[in-house]
């Protein structure tokens, strides 16, 4: 009986599935191609390295953020968590003279706690994630100011600078961490029960509850993880600058969300995967890099990058729309 229909259906779906990923992959390739054609410096190893180093950070946060998007939530305080964690671990090194590595780990724990706090507030008080984290962004940013008055914490021991500045072979170390995070996260969501529960929650919270999935526990856990990942980005940035800055991470929340969506993660939950966020991050970073390489007038910068973001997220839906159009044509011609 309806085998045929369904077969058609599957191939249809798969092609669609791919098209989103491929579409965006194509964009990435295209941009790289353009960049290398129009700027002799793009493929310059140093440029690539600093580019990759930049995208390592947006990418890392994006991967974290996409986990939250998968359950239909988000965290706008990731940037502040990153800087506060960085500042704290900086203080522990400089003011308490803690061993740098211990201090870094402490910084990670701080991030974990801040993120988990968000999770607790949101799940226990049943708050809307977006507005709650707008609030917490203020709180964490504030604590940061209270601690530092906005001053940078300088003199971070050079022993740990390599974590931010160094390369493993040609690959910038922060990006190595990003890849590690990606692998772990992908394993989590593809292979572990918790990971699949994340999708289940994102698809249908109520049904997930009825199945006995500990929805709130998992939600809280993810917020914690995102805090941890943000903190990792934060401390790596400290190592990169050799100083802890309270001002870092301002654009990370929006960029991480944009990156995820560009990479095909739906804000409605349950759709897409963190690898996409990394591609999205790459696209965003390349835009920014090209803008400067091409010597785009500084006043045009935000206009251009904003525009490209819109283009980028349009691709997947455009491919759908176009396909629909095509279909219609084909069918019509076939009949008439």
């Amino acid at each position: 009986m309806s085998e045929k229909i369904i077969k058609k259906n599957i191939t249809f779906i798969n092609s669609l599935k791919k098209s989103n990923m491929t579409a965006i992959g194509a964009v990435l390739i295209l941009m790289i191609a353009l960049a290398s054609i129009f700027s002799p410096y793009f493929l310059d190893i140093y440029n690539l390295q600093s580019l990759v180093r930049d995208l390592a950070f947006i990418g890392m946060i994006g991967i974290g953020q996409s986990l939250l998007l998968l359950i239909g939530e988000l965290d706008l305080s990731v940037g502040k968590i990153a800087s506060l964690s960085g500042i704290m671990s900086g203080m522990m090194m400089m003011n308490w003279g803690l061993n740098p590595y211990l201090a870094l780990i402490a910084g990670l724990i701080v991030g974990l706690i801040l993120g988990y706090t968000n999770g607790l507030i949101i799940t226990k008080l049943r708050l809307n994630a977006m507005v709650a984290t707008i609030g917490m962004q203020g709180v964490y940013g504030g604590i940061n100011l209270v601690l530092t008055k906005g001053k940078a914490i300088t003199g971070i021991p050079s022993t740990i600078h390599f974590l931010g500045k160094g390369n493993l072979g040609p690959i910038p170390i922060p990006f190595v961490f990003t890849l590690i995070v990606l692998v772990l996260v992908m394993f989590l969501i593809k292979k572990t029960k918790t990971g699949r529960y994340i999708y289940a929650i994102g698809n249908n919270k109520e049904a997930a509850k009825i199945l006995g999935i500990k929805v709130d526990k998992i939600r809280g856990m993810i917020y914690g993880m995102v805090g941890l990942i943000s903190a990792l980005a934060g401390i790596l940035y400290v190592a990169r600058l050799g100083s802890a800055q309270s001002s870092i991470g301002q654009n990370w929340p929006m960029n991480s969300i944009a990156a995820s969506v560009i990479g095909g993660v739906a804000l409605t939950g349950g759709i897409g995967n963190p690898a996409g966020a990394l591609i999205g991050a790459a696209i965003i970073s390349i835009i920014q890099n090209m803008i400067v390489l091409f010597g785009v007038n500084v006043y045009w910068q935000s206009a251009v990058s904003g525009f490209v973001v819109v283009i980028a997220i349009s691709f997947s839906s455009l491919s759908t729309i176009i396909r629909e159009r095509k279909q219609r044509k084909i069918k019509v011609t076939k009949v008439s």
Partner: protein, 306 residues
């Protein structure tokens, strides 16, 4: 600082009532924290010499938004202070509110900004053009008046940053063998400075000098270090934020042309006090510019760090 004290004693007219002044910066920013330090110190000094309680309230908009700054101004005025020192985000935008406040008999002085003609306001601060020109000339000198120089913009909506940018361009124009290129824009953020500078360095392998217009120079320094071009690229920066000073000490930043925020703070308060006791005050108080490099960086690190 000594010379203020002497001024004070000269004009120690009898005042009995306690005094409250408000300092309103552009935003919460470490540079202004230095201003505040100076202001608090002056208040302390005055209290001691006058035997009345002089308090300085430091009220900052969270973001550098004229709207927000005006609100802070109005609401600070509502607490009936004896004077307000303001770093206007954009004088034209603050004008209205400033006038409202003056109407209420609350004296206002500006700091970190030049008072526009006809405003009749006293401004405590520096000439940003002079500050930037000093940086440019220093850089030119350091690179033997030839080579490629990048200039990074600050917060485009901050007039003083824009003024510095223009001044850099004008100053460098004097040197025929110096090629000026766009050095990106950092919006006073070290992070943005870092990634923009990185790309600029990549696009200009032959870059020799870097100038900037705000407090973000640490980002440029970090990028230069990452590029391993500390010997090739000379940075002369603006402002005396601690992370900048550290790079000066390290040598990545050769020098920085800095105003003296602490002095701006103390002079602002002093002026407000003089007005409060009915003295006339000069229209312009230039708190001077220092060029900080390996010579004097240590003492400045001391000043800023405590």
């Amino acid at each position: 600082s000594k010379e203020n004290k002497s001024e004070v004693t000269e004009s120690s007219a009898k005042v009995s009532k306690d005094l409250t002044f408000v300092v309103v910066p552009k935003c919460v920013h470490p540079w202004f924290d230095e201003v505040n330090k100076g202001a608090q110190a002056q208040a302390k000094a005055l209290s001691e010499q006058l035997g009345v309680k002089v308090t300085v309230n430091y009220r900052a908009p969270v973001t550098a938004d004229v709207a927000e700054q005006n609100t802070v101004l109005e609401q600070a005025a509502a607490t009936r202070p004896d004077g307000i020192a303001l770093d206007p985000l954009d004088y034209e935008g603050n004008k209205a509110v400033i006038e409202e406040i003056q109407k209420q008999g609350i004296p206002v002085v500006l700091f970190d900004a030049s008072a526009p003609a006809g405003s009749g306001l006293t401004s405590v601060g520096i000439d940003f053009t002079e500050q930037a020109t000093m940086a440019s000339d220093k850089l030119a000198e350091l690179i033997g008046e030839e080579g490629k120089v990048a200039v990074m913009q600050g917060v485009p909506t901050a007039p003083n940053h824009a003024e510095r940018y223009q001044a850099h361009l004008d100053a460098l124009a004097k040197y025929p063998n110096i090629e000026v290129i766009e050095g990106g824009i950092d919006n006073d953020s070290v992070e943005e400075a870092q990634s923009q500078a990185a790309a600029v360095l990549a696009a200009n392998p032959d870059l020799e000098g870097y100038l900037n217009c705000d407090g973000g120079a640490a980002g440029i320094a970090a990028a230069v270090e990452e590029a391993g071009k500390t010997d090739q690229v000379t940075i002369v920066s603006i402002a005396n934020l601690i992370d900048i000073l550290k790079y000066v000490k390290k040598g990545t930043i050769t020098g920085t042309s800095s105003s003296i925020p602490q002095l701006q703070g103390s002079m602002s308060v002093l002026m407000l006090w003089q007005v409060s006791i009915g003295l006339d005050i000069p229209k312009v108080i230039d708190t001077g510019i220092v060029y900080i490099d390996s010579e004097n960086v240590d003492e400045w690190i001391k000043i800023v760090e405590n």
